[in-house]
Symmetry: C2
Subunit: 91 residues, 2 copies
């Protein structure tokens, strides 16, 4: 999967990421939504809004959750949960 | 799946829900974590912390995301994203 087919979800409005997903799916059959920490909820929103409002042919192919280690400012590492939602355009 | 095998994740500390999951898995092979809206991120944390820190034999069997309609105070309905994480104890 090329870099273009990953949308990293952060703290911007949901619609920004929906547009990025829709644009990705113009060039590819699938796109991965990735998020960490509190942005995980927003990634789920992006997947649901994209499917329900814009692209009804898009299916959730797989969802994975994992723990990632982040380096914090004081030199320690800190664990943060992460999610990858793989969307596929079947429409 | 009986009611005892569902843990609803809300705004309490993560550890409360981890303890509920561990208690559920004493009586059953599987437990479902359910959350809506911003609690979705916390449900992922609960799954990851339980697996990494307490019960290494617990696997994520499936993850589903969906949209639920909530009645708001003004009589309208409001869409909210939801997640169900099914954990199975294989250890």
């Amino acid at each position: 999967m090329s870099k273009n087919n990953v949308v990293y979800v952060g703290s911007k409005p949901i619609m920004n990421y929906c547009m990025a997903v829709i644009e990705s799916l113009r060039h590819s059959d699938s796109v991965a939504l990735k998020a960490r920490g509190r942005a995980i909820s927003r990634a789920v929103d992006v997947a649901e809004v994209t499917r329900n409002r814009y692209l009804s042919g898009v299916k959730v192919e797989s969802i994975d959750i994992m723990t990632e280690e982040l380096d914090s400012h004081d030199g320690d590492t800190r664990n943060v949960s992460a999610i990858t939602i793989l969307l596929r355009n079947e429409g």
